[in-house]
Structure formats: structure tokens, C-alpha cells
Symmetry: C2
Subunit: 333 residues, 2 copies
Amino acid sequence: MPELRRDPVIGRWVIISSNRGKRPIDFQVHQEMPQGGTCPFCPGFEDKTPPEILAYYPAGREKNKSGWWVRVIPNKFPALEIEGELDRTGEGMYDKMNGLGAHEVIIETPEHGQHLHELAQQKMEDVIWSWRDRILDLKKDDRLEYIMIFKNHGSAAGASISHPHSQLIAMPMVPIRVKQEGDGSKNYYGYKERCVYCDIIHQEMAQMQRIVANNKDFIAITPFASRFPFETWIMPHRHSSEFQDIQKTEVANLAGLLKLVLAKHHFVLDNPPFNLILHTAPLKTSRLPHYHWYIEIIPKLTRLAGFEQGTGFYINPTPPEDAAKFLRDANAP
Amino acid sequence: MPELRRDPVIGRWVIISSNRGKRPIDFQVHQEMPQGGTCPFCPGFEDKTPPEILAYYPAGREKNKSGWWVRVIPNKFPALEIEGELDRTGEGMYDKMNGLGAHEVIIETPEHGQHLHELAQQKMEDVIWSWRDRILDLKKDDRLEYIMIFKNHGSAAGASISHPHSQLIAMPMVPIRVKQEGDGSKNYYGYKERCVYCDIIHQEMAQMQRIVANNKDFIAITPFASRFPFETWIMPHRHSSEFQDIQKTEVANLAGLLKLVLAKHHFVLDNPPFNLILHTAPLKTSRLPHYHWYIEIIPKLTRLAGFEQGTGFYINPTPPEDAAKFLRDANAP
């Protein structure tokens, strides 16, 4: 079973996963799966994956057969596992616990070569609904503290299978960045009695310099202190700390804006590798006045992120005002 | 002039540098400088770099000519600049300041193709002395709060010139990871009245599972909650919060251990790209009882670090006990 270990200085939890490649010889450069053919995420190969947890499909389709348009399966090489006891223990001064949790794959489309932004509006909405359905289901498990939904596109961004998919990791602790956002926004709220993210949206709407796109329910901006070139956040106008509180019309507007932003990135940056991360409140909280969920999209354009990772110290060569203008001006086809 | 911007939620400062590549078209894959020939860091090409700030050389050598064995120059494309006013201002709810600071390059050897671990003992010591000399000099500037010394080796780790060099960035604020380490270790000290890093060393010496190498003054370990495979820390046995307090015999023992650890990485991982980062206390502190300087070495083996960067959530496929054993057992030639 994987193990969760806590850094004794910073308090950051790390998954030590021995299910995965681990000897020096295993660190070869990964090849992307060849297009088509033997991809286990393609229709017709449903028996090559663990049995599905959820799928959207027309009436009459048999489970684990083709015909679906969104399909959720357990990760074959999970970073965390759902069976077992939580069992938190010490090892001298160190803390650790069992790597209990869940690791799922959301196959976003049956079409191997399709990009997420190319999904039809309705299908994009269904990807968002599938994220929400899985969160609501896993939230029932009291051992879990946080659910992270993310997408790696392109091998440089960490994708090992090119068929469009996102991932979900449910974990028994709150990751450090989420904790920092919680603490930071709580401090701000304590001082101002306002949500810092709502204030960001107001200022961006007033300044008009870092807006990429906007609709009734969502705004896409390049944040003031962007760490990466073309880093983009999609934020709901309505204050809400939990993604799973999203309303039906909001899902439609999120799908539209997400398609638009990803199409602009694709067009301006020539199909960049990217990471998409859903930031939402920890599971055992509810309607926090200080926190505000959002989606972060980070194109992987520079390799210069080596030491930044170790230090939290970033050098961004593209001012977000310039990035926003490039994206705003792009008429993605 | 570059600009420093503060994230309003987390408090992380970011350098927005418009000296560097910035339009979408500028993000091409960088090529490494070809071996030999036109490398500006090679002897004989001293006029291709800004004038030197410091160099170690035999008597009789002329400044900015060949003959040196360590040479420090300003970075030609600095992330921060030494001229100008500090000028901290707001922009609505956001904070920013001028990108005041220094960005220097330490050329570690005149030999273009040499690896750092191949330096003779004396020459390796001189690289360490040059780091210290530059810190002591820059520390006089009251506008500066922190000096970060780091090395990127290999293009996958962010090096754009392959000639062996490290870098120094002096900045007018404390980076977030350093702040977190300061806060975390202070909390621990408040509770235990002991340095958390000293406790780590004691436990590692007792458990013997994560030691890579050890000598009278320094220990090399793979930390308990390693984020990356083969991540290695080199820590002084003697409690000291500031690297620049290092004593003469300690420099010799650090040079020896650094050569050994890098040789082991080179041998076991087949010349991996890596980042080396010196963690030391902020400039305006002195002899902190809770902080302890150390050197972190992170081989860049996986590309899976995309979303980890955004979340602070790491999955490490190699238990540090295994990594330490591989490194300990390796007889680097």
C-alpha cells in the first residue's frame, strides 16, 4: 500500500508510492501512446481497463461496453487505494499514514484524437457533471478530506496516455497549497470581511487588463502574480467555496468558457502541453465565506521550472497583461 | 526594470521579467550551447560577458582575461537589477515593488566539459568560497533580504548554457519556501526548544536507513518525506542558520561530500539533469536557534511534476530508503 508522509518542517504531505517505477533504470523518457489502435481508453477496449465506476451513455448500452461518451474508471496504477485502514502513526519525530484514498480516470471522450476544447457544448458539460458526480459520491466516505481534480495534457505536462482524460485523487489529508489558500484567504477575510477572490474579480473587472474572456457566470483572467506565462484562472462570479455547489446554468457557462479558453491557448500557443487543476474547499467544510473555488490552467511552456519547484520562487518572462491581450485578441477558429 | 508582484492570497512573490522571451513565438524548445568553441563562459572569451565581479586566479593575471579557475559575472539577462529604488507600491488590492536585486553567474571551472563532481578537491572548495564571498559582499546592501544560490545542470533542469556554472539571485524579499521553513522550524522550536533539523540528523543517524554518506562535519540523506526520487540533502552536523558562517575545515568537508554525492548521482542515474539549491537564513537574521542551513539536490528524473507545481502535492515513486541504498552502494569511480 502506498504511504503518506509528512514533512516535519513545512507540514507538506507526500505520497510515497511503491506501485510505480522506482529503480534508477525505470526513469526512462516515457513515450506517448501511439495514436489509435491499442489505446485502453478507446471504445472497444473497455475490458483492458478496470470496471467502470460511472459512465454516461444512451439507454440499452451494456456496462463496460462501447457506446459511452464519458467514462470513469479506477486508475490501474493508483497513487492511493480505497481499501484498508487509515492508521496514522509516528516513526520517531516523523508522521505517516496509510495511502488510503481513491485515484480515478475520467475519459472525457471516446474520440482518441479530439482535444478537450473540441468537445460539443453538451459533451463538455457532461465532463463537468462527471467531476461533480464523482465528488458527491466520494464525499460520503468520512475518511477522506480532499478531492483534487486535474488534467495533464501532453507528455511534457505528465500525461502518459494521450487519449483525452482527467484524473481525480481523493485523499485523507488537505494538500499544502489548499491549506495555504485557506489560511491566506481566511486572514484577508478576518481583516476585510470580504472574500479575497471576490475582490480580485472586482478589481479585474474594473482594470480590464488581465481579462481573457467573460460571461454571465464566469470570468477568465491571467492572475496579477502569475507564476507561469499564460497561466489562466477561470472563476465563478458568484461567491461559492465548493465546486460541487455549481448550478445547472453555471455548468453550461463554465463549459462554454472552458472551451473558449482552451481553444485560445491551443491556437495562440500551438497546442501546448498543459495542466488544469480544480481548486475547491476541503470536503469537511461548507459554504466558507472566505474561500472561492476556481480552475487553474497552466500551459507548460518553459523548462525553467526546475528550482522554482524547490523554492516557491518563480520568474515569469511574460507579464500577465501581455498574455491576456494575446489570448483576448486571438480568434480561435 | 523587472517587477516583483505579490500573490494576494498566498503571499508568494513572483518576478515578472520583461527582459526575457515573452511572446508566444518565443517559447521554442531551447537548444544547449554546442560543446566548446563559442561558449562565452570558456577562457579566452571573457570579453563576451559583462566584466567580472570576482575571480580566483594566480598572481599576475589581468582582469577579464583567461587564467582564472572560478569567475563570477553579472547575468547578461538578469531577473533582478541592482540599480534603482526599492519603491514598494500598491495597485488596488495588489502589492508590487521594483525588481531590485542582483543576478550573478558563478563559472565553476574553465573546463567546458567538466562535471562539478570532477573538480579537484581544492577547486571545489574554491567554488564554495566564491559563494560565501559573494554573499558577504551583497549582505552589505540594506535593501536586500535574501540571497539564493542555486545550480541548474542540463537543459531539462533549466540550464541554457552547458558550461558548469551556478547562479546567485539577491532579492528584496524572502521567498515563500524560505518563509515556510522559517515558520515551521520556529513552531517546532517553540514546542520542543530544539532545532527540527538537528532532530532530523539525530534520527537519521540512529535509523541509518536514509543516509547516503557522512563525514565529520556533514551528512547526506534522502529526506523522510522526499518529494522527488533521489532527492538528497547535505546538512552540517553543527547547528548553524547561516551558510556564510561556515568554517575553513567545514568547507573542505563540504567540498568532499558534495563531490561524492554528485558523483554517486552521476553514476547511479547516468548523468541526470539536476537542481542544487542552498537553503540559508534570511540576511537580516543572525544565529537563529530554530533554523539550519542545508543544500538540496534534486535530480530531474520525472516529467510528472506538472500539476505538483500548482498544488504542492507530490507523488514520489521511489521510497527514500531505496534511493539512499542505491546511492550508498554505488562505488562511483
